[in-house]
Every structure is written in C-alpha cells, then in structure tokens.
C-alpha cells in the first residue's frame, strides 16, 4: 500500500556558491573599453575645427 508522505522533509538547495567575479571583470572591461573609445572620439571632435 502506498504511503502518504506528509512529513517529507526535502530541502531545496539554493546554489549560493556561484561567484560573480568573472562577470564583474567582463562587465567593467567592456565598460572601460566603451569609455576610452568614446573619450577618444570626443577629444578628436574637440581638437579639430
């Protein structure tokens, strides 16, 4: 006969061990690349008549 499992205790594992270090590094790398290229083009615009 089937048993009811009213008192079943299963824990949902929340994965909290994932590191965002790589993501942080790539986001800022892209960010700085955009800022440097933007500033380069802007300074070219400013320096020419």
């Amino acid at each position: 006969m089937a048993k009811t499992e009213l008192s079943r205790k299963t824990k949902t594992e929340i994965e909290d061990s994932s590191s965002l270090k790589g993501t942080l590094a790539s986001v800022f790398l892209l960010g700085f690349f955009l800022i440097i290229t933007w500033a380069g083009v802007y300074s070219l615009f400013i320096s020419r008549f």
Partner: protein
Amino acid sequence: MHMHKFEKAWLTFGIGSLLVFLTVLGVSAFYLGNQPPSCLATIDPEKVDTTAPFNEPGLKKVEGKDWDYELVYVASAFSYSPAEVEVPYGAKVKIIATTKDVVHGFEVAGSNINMMLEPGYISEHITTFDKTGEYLIVCNEYCGVGHHMMSSKIKVVE
C-alpha cells in the same frame, strides 16, 4: 530584493556613465548651441541663383554678428561654387550652403565640417579656422556619374 554587491556596482557604473554621456550631450546642445547643420532653414531650389546670399557665393566679411565672415557655397552636379577660397587664419566663419539639384555632401576632410546638402534646405556650420593649411572639400553623397570629381578647396592663410 536581494542584490549581489557586484550587481549594485555595475548597475551604478552603467547608470552613472549614461548620465555623464547625456549631460555632455545636453551641455553641447543647450549651452554650446550645437544643432544639426540643416535646421529649419529652407529655400526654393529653383531660385537659388537669385536668392541672397546664394546669388554671390564666396567669402564675405560681416559686421555685428557672432562670426566675422560668411562663406557661401552653392553645390550642383558636379561642382561647388566657389571652387577655391582663402580664409584668414583664426577667422570665425559661418559656412552657409545649399544645392541646386540633387542631394550632395559637403565634407571638409580632416575637420568636423560634414554636412548633407539637400535641395530646398540650407545647411550651416559655424567654426573657427585655427589651423593653417589646405583643406579639401569633397562630396560624400553619391550624386551621379561625376560624383568622384566633385571637390573644392579651402586655404587657411596667415
């Protein structure tokens, strides 16, 4: 809502950069007065030759304006009038240009002057020529078989 501190960092960075870029754009437009070259000024393209200032293309000294000279150009297939012009070094010049026929380009190579000339519209650009030399003006909008031969010259002289 829980947010990872790294997420907060890059969101702050991204939104901050956006604000900086938009501020630069706003200052350029509303404080420095930068506007698109063709800004609401129109002309009858059939009557360019008889409409001032296009009836006398070339460099003209003006008084009582924010700029010292007005440089008027008329473009048509496949040339610019005037074909060559001498501008004194350090002069603040308003370039005023239009076209008689089709869409032409107006690019002073190696400078920020780059406009589209559309029939019926007047394109303008104010600049100070603070570097001497010869500057080539080229058409950068394909206008027909002679497009590649369409050019003019600005000489900035002491």
